[in-house]
Symmetry: C2
């Protein structure tokens, strides 16, 4: 790859967005498909991003009073049967364990030791955790229970896509049980706000928040709240959900307690989760035609220093200067932690190295060559700006300025994503306008449609169904409005309580 090329990723976003997405993942070496249908291998750079997300979220969960625990991978079939809507929602797509042994038969391994009751690999853990809570809760004094689990889950997927939809994925699932309805409702909203804050402040994603319509609700929930991100093909990604489960699961699992008045009651429960899908969202929201773009607050490395060593006689001095700069950068802090620095001292061309780190999305690149040494400067490039742009800064100033540069990149990414969302979020009042908004002008580029539509809706699933069939557009969320503005449903002429957010989605 030469310095003269225009972009590192082919095709570009506007040429073929889905293929561009795959190529960004490949170029940044984030993940790949395995030979096991729908299961991905998360490679070190991709996993390091997940570790950063885990670290921040885990701290936020603990600050809001939650602790971690771990529950079994397997769910007895009979547990799933207990909650009717839940069966309906999850039964279609489970990995089912039916045997517990393998035997050699005619030179081939075959399943043996059939289980009396098949086990399902958890698609989510409400039922198995509910069974534990039912054992633990006897009195109102045992409540609330505020637990989270970091785990893998499996949902069979017919059309897997790296990070966004995989058969196995990594996530966290919070599960809480409360004495009163109000307390559980407060918890549900609190965790939605944790997700919203995390998305905005760390991932630079200006997500929309709201409630799901009944047809998009978590199977078995009374209310599902969500954060929805707009990505660069103007589609929506549901990036996290928080569910108020009412007493549905506590009744199914038997989570009962003696209340303050002596009467036996069912607990009120919630669950909430985000997954490795966040990585896919991050990629689609911020990356460009040169590859991955990482917000500094979530990047596994903030800075890469690239020594340029064309001549043998100055090589040692350049490498020494690079290491010295790395050392003082590591002694400086960003967001209360040491600035994280990579030095790429490999003995290959500077251009090749530089492109590699551009594609990996590292927020700041610093090139140091023989000429910089004599001038006491270094070339600083920001990943949020065109790859050719360089600021030649005095070497001695770089450590003290780095936190400011990283802060500015973080702010720029959020501002850019916010402006993009504002541009492509439109109130629409007629059926024709709505259909036109979601119909691509060029059928070869189905991603170039309007974006998110704010339109009225009569509140019925029939209208949702019709629009989903016609346009593959769904209600992403019903925004929380203190004083909803009523109107008229453009599809039926019926009265509407408020505008809702419609979009195509992943």
């Amino acid at each position: 790859m030469s310095d003269k090329q225009k972009n590192a990723i082919s095709p570009r976003r506007e040429e073929d967005f889905p293929e561009w997405y795959q190529q960004v993942i490949r170029a940044a070496d984030l993940a790949e498909n395995s030979e096991v249908r729908g299961c991905m291998v998360i490679k070190p750079w991709g996993y390091a991003i997940w570790e950063r997300m885990q670290g921040v979220l885990d701290r936020m969960f603990k600050e809001t009073g939650h602790r971690n625990a771990y529950f079994p991978l397997f769910i007895p079939l009979s547990y799933l049967e207990k909650e009717a809507a839940h069966v309906e929602g999850f039964a279609k797509e489970c990995a089912v364990v039916t045997h517990h042994r393998l035997e050699m038969k005619d030179g081939k391994l075959v399943p043996a030791g059939e289980l009396t009751e098949p086990l399902v690999v958890r698609p989510t853990s409400e039922t198995i955790i509910g069974a534990a809570y039912a054992r633990w809760v006897k009195s109102w004094r045992d409540l609330p229970i505020l637990l989270n689990q970091w785990a893998n889950v499996v949902r069979w997927e017919m059309r897997p896509r790296l990070f966004l939809r995989t058969a196995e994925f990594l996530w966290q699932e919070g599960h809480t049980a409360h004495e009163t309805r109000e307390e559980a409702e407060v918890e549900t909203m609190k965790m939605l706000r944790v997700y919203e804050t995390f998305a905005r402040e760390f991932l630079a994603l200006p997500v929309l928040t709201g409630e799901k319509s009944e047809s998009e609700r978590f199977p078995g929930a009374l209310q599902t709240y969500c954060i929805e991100a707009m990505v660069q093909d103007r589609k929506a990604i549901q990036a996290g959900t928080s569910h108020f489960l009412g007493q549905n699961f506590s009744k199914a699992s038997g989570i009962q307690f003696q209340g303050r008045d002596g009467a036996v009651e069912h607990a009120w429960t919630t669950s909430w989760g985000v997954s490795t899908r966040l990585i896919g969202t991050l990629i689609m929201a911020h990356s460009d035609d040169d590859g991955l773009v990482l917000p500094p607050r979530i990047a596994p490395a903030h800075v890469v220093i690239i020594p340029i060593t064309p001549k043998e006689d100055s090589k040692a001095a350049v490498l020494e200067a690079a290491e010295a700069l790395a050392k003082s950068l590591r002694a400086s802090t960003f967001e209360g932690e040491p600035v994280s620095v990579e030095v790429d001292a490999r003995d290959i061309g500077g251009g090749v190295k530089s492109w590699e780190w551009i594609k990996k999305g590292v927020p700041v690149r610093i090139e140091i060559g023989p000429r910089d040494l004599t001038q006491g400067t270094a070339a600083v490039s920001r990943r949020d700006r065109p790859h050719k742009e360089k600021d030649f800064l005095p070497m001695a100033d770089i450590p003290s300025r780095m936190a400011g540069i990283l802060d500015d990149i973080q702010a720029q990414l959020l501002a850019r994503a916010t402006a993009f969302r504002e541009t492509h979020l439109k109130p629409i009042d007629s059926k024709e306008g709505f259909y036109a908004f979601f119909t691509p002008a060029n059928s070869a580029k189905p991603e170039i449609h309007g974006g998110f539509a704010l339109a009225h809706w009569n509140g019925t699933p029939e209208v949702e169904e019709q629009i989903k069939n016609d346009l593959k557009v769904t209600i992403r969320c019903i925004p929380f409005e203190e004083s909803p503005e009523p109107g008229v449903c453009p599809f039926t002429g019926a009265p509407s309580r408020q505008r809702v957010v419609w979009a195509k989605s992943y």
Copy 2:
């Protein structure tokens, strides 16, 4: 439970060690069996210990050049078939996924969507990771690959025991691939030393290290190195293993590369792992008849402050003093991190609270009552000493002295475990002496036998088999000896290269 009772745990260790172990787990609220056969629920206090272990080990792995990644949960049956010894070792105890859907049939959920090729839930990941490495490695320049994975694995267990042997457990598995045999051998030993250091320095476990005999080797490995801990019933627990896999798995998976001389070669691989079994080891090694005892360097909380508030009028002042002390303790450090402090302000009796934290193993308890306030002191109790022992220290001195106290507890636990191991590790030179050593004097207390025997061995699996059948004793490891002392096998009279370690084990 009253202050007058002698011990918190019934039965005591000497009465019934296996039952004592279960009761310690229950009293400390660490884990419990789920309704899914052999699968445990790890409760918050147990999981917090695992999080501490993960944190330390993860840092040690990264400092030795490893990165984390994540590989699929499922392994195609055909992968397992590729390595003959591996099949033999693992095929017997796998969870097998045969279907990917559930359907309602006559009001009952039944498995549907049969898979063309069944999938095995990973019992370990050599084969699935080998398939990935085979894709990634083309040239010697692609080596070494130094990855680790934190994951759950499943091995069907007929006699599960919390933490020590469960169908599903949590672990880390390192998998590395190298250009040369020597490099892989160095890696295998390096990671064994990481485990040994971790066990000694953090868990206060003076583990023995050595090589496994062929019959105890990991299925498919050329060499298996291990750390073996002695616990208080004088049995051994294999607490971690590091395997040199030679080219067995690279040949099975096709991890090939073009070497420096242009010839195509197979990579040399290693794998190494520790699991939640470490928690079981920790419990059995250090806990006493009052419950769990945690080494400070691995304890989720270093200190608990227990305000004693018998009178309403002094309550506020006591609570305030407790919070003030907590604040200054948190501002002090232990091992470079803030001292971790819990304040148990619950409005229940001080004795009840104190017993709870004793059973949970928190290294230091500090009681503050109305009288302490007037005297400016607090009662400090150490978990490594009898529960009634209290040092009345000036409140103002406690923060500056805490790191020293914690250091001392850590050192005492290691010293105690080391002395115990030395007492019960005996050279034995006759067959009669060996059989007597492992025969309990009282058949009702099978745990009271000699301990670890250092005896010669002719090197054959036949002798191992005989002794296993007669005494349930196996070779735990062949110690690394720079100049092994030859001798005579007491069982056969044949020459022996060196003494090996024999013990009963979990």
